[in-house]
Amino acid sequence: MSFFVKKISRRAIVQALIALPALSLLRRRVDTEPPSADPNEIVEVNGWILKRSDLA
């Protein structure tokens, strides 16, 4: 029996395997987090020339 199996229970290994697919979801969420928008940025919406903060 290897050192790895001796130290970690079989139950823990199974739980880790089940959780692995969810990690990619977390990673995607972190990747797509929008940068903090500049409230003074000038935007055009429906023909209006506005500050981003006007849209709040």
């Binding site: 055009e44 429906n46 023909g47 209006w48 020339i49 506005l50 006007d54």
Partner: protein, 479 residues
């Protein structure tokens, strides 16, 4: 002296060194300058002292390309010319308007603003104008500019007594030149039409067509055709580079404080781009006219804004409840890029009562101008935000790239180009002194000599150029 017909003029045995065609702002100004210098002048005016349908009929024509006004209503053919329906807006072309722009072909004049500045005091007297105030930069991109609403001088009315009493100036009404004859060096005579019939040939030492920004080209095109190139020997640019000031409602603005803007007596203010902004965006000059919006107009602006920026709409509604002026309509006028294809041609099928072909005007707005309109509004809107002065909403048709509306004013009734000033004979018709290239005694007055149009109404610059031409001729013509 004012004569009602060529017959009565002939009977008076008045001898004129200079023959001016047309009694609008350019014609009368040049005549007064020459008369004051002791030079004898005859001014031939096609119409009479009053408007008449019969006279206007000579101005009918057709337009090819973009929609334009009927050619017989966009100008007036009687004493005083189109000053008779002038609204009175005054401003001189800016220094930057005279300079060439690398991003717009065929821009730049052979003279600078400094060449007409010495004549501005005279112009102010003629047009009853106070002094212009310097521009005020609102940002690096936008400047407040002053257009003065003058009393709109009707040249025929204002100067009728003076002209009637003049011993050096004879105004002959109901008389005009259907064509000039020339030998490639000089104009040798003018074929006249007076009171509905052929009136023979008139001779003078100098001829100066001042018949307007459409008619100058028509007269010279027809004359040149009849004399086999003897009137405008270098005719490649004749009739070409014609320009207007397209004008459309560009949208609305809401203003944090209307009193931040210096408005004139009619609650209007004007804004134009800096040269740096034009250069950076590679656009033409433009003028944004800000007009206070009536109450019903504000409500629709609020309703529209509420869908996009509720807080801003709430603020606007509150301002309205306080009876504050906080919204405005934005009208945009812009400079047309000179294009050889915008041109006056002679109709091949339609002639007037004197047998002269009518005008066929080819006129189209360019993509560069469309970009000028859009970027101009963006510059203004951005400036309002940066200076915390307000917000701009651009009209849907501009944002969506749709066709120009057909239910608006379209343009300013400003007819410019056709006999433009320049040094290259293939791209211009007159030189820096308004003398037709290659001709010794033929000059042109009026906005047809404009190389570029700037964004402002042309009458003030027309009058300044006329003072300059009158001054120039008074120095070279011996009494």
């Amino acid at each position: 002296m004012i004569f009602d017909s060529y017959e009565t003029f002939k009977a008076a045995n008045f001898t004129a060194k200079v023959c001016i065609l047309g009694s609008g702002p350019a014609g009368i100004t040049i005549a007064r300058k020459l008369g004051a210098a002791g030079i004898s002048v005859v001014v031939l005016e096609a119409g009479s002292r009053e408007f008449s349908d019969d006279s206007q009929d000579f101005y009918r024509g057709s337009t090819v390309g973009d929609p334009y006004f009927d050619l017989d209503i966009t100008r007036l053919r009687f004493m005083g010319g189109s000053s008779n329906h002038w609204a009175g807006w005054c401003r001189v072309l800016d220094k930057q308007d005279f300079e060439p722009k690398a991003w717009a072909p065929d821009t730049g004049w052979p003279i600078s603003r400094a060449d007409i500045d010495p004549f501005l005091p005279e112009v102010h007297d003629i047009l009853d104008l106070p002094d212009f105030r310097p521009d005020v930069p609102i940002s690096d991109d936008i400047r407040w500019v002053q257009l003065i609403k003058s009393p709109a001088v009707r040249f025929g009315e204002k100067f009728a007594d003076e002209l009637d009493k003049s011993r050096n100036i004879a105004v002959v009404l109901n008389t005009y030149a259907t064509e000039l004859a020339g030998d490639g060096r000089r104009v040798t005579g003018a074929k006249l039409w007076s009171n509905g019939q052929d009136a023979g040939v008139f001779s003078a030492e100098y001829f100066i067509p001042c018949t307007g920004g459409l008619e100058n080209s028509r007269l010279l095109l027809w004359s040149n055709q009849r004399s086999n190139g003897g009137v405008v020997p270098n005719a490649a640019a004749l009739g070409r580079y014609w320009m207007e000031h397209p004008t459309f409602e560009g949208g609305n603005a809401i203003l944090t404080d209307y009193s931040e803007f210096e408005v004139d007596a009619t609650n209007e203010a004007f804004f134009s781009p800096s040269l740096a902004a034009m250069e950076r965006l590679q656009i033409m000059n433009f003028g944004i006219r800000l007009i206070e919006t009536p109450y019903a107009g504000i409500k629709s602006v609020i309703a529209d804004l509420a869908c996009t920026a509720p807080d801003a709409a709430e603020w606007l509604a509150y301002q309205l409840s306080q009876n504050l002026r906080c919204a405005a309509q934005l009208y945009v006028t812009w400079e047309q890029a000179p294009q050889a294809s915008n041109q006056i041609e002679l109709s091949k099928t339609d002639v007037d009562h004197a047998g002269v072909p009518r005008i066929e005007l080819h006129w189209k707005k360019s993509a560069l101008e469309r970009r000028t309109l859009l970027e101009g509004l963006r510059l203004f809107g951005t400036t309002l935000i940066q200076k915390d002065l307000g917000r701009v909403r651009m009209a849907d048709w501009i944002v969506n790239g749709q066709d120009y509306p057909t239910n608006e004013e379209t343009a300013g009734h400003h007819h410019m180009g056709g006999t433009r000033m320049g040094t290259d004979v293939t791209r211009s018709v007159v030189d820096a002194n308004c003398k037709v290239h290659g001709m010794d005694n033929l000059y042109v007055g009026g906005s047809s000599v404009f190389c570029t149009s700037g964004e402002c109404n042309p009458t003030t610059t027309i009058t300044a150029l006329a003072c300059r031409l009158g001054d120039h001729l008074s120095k070279i013509i011996t009494v």
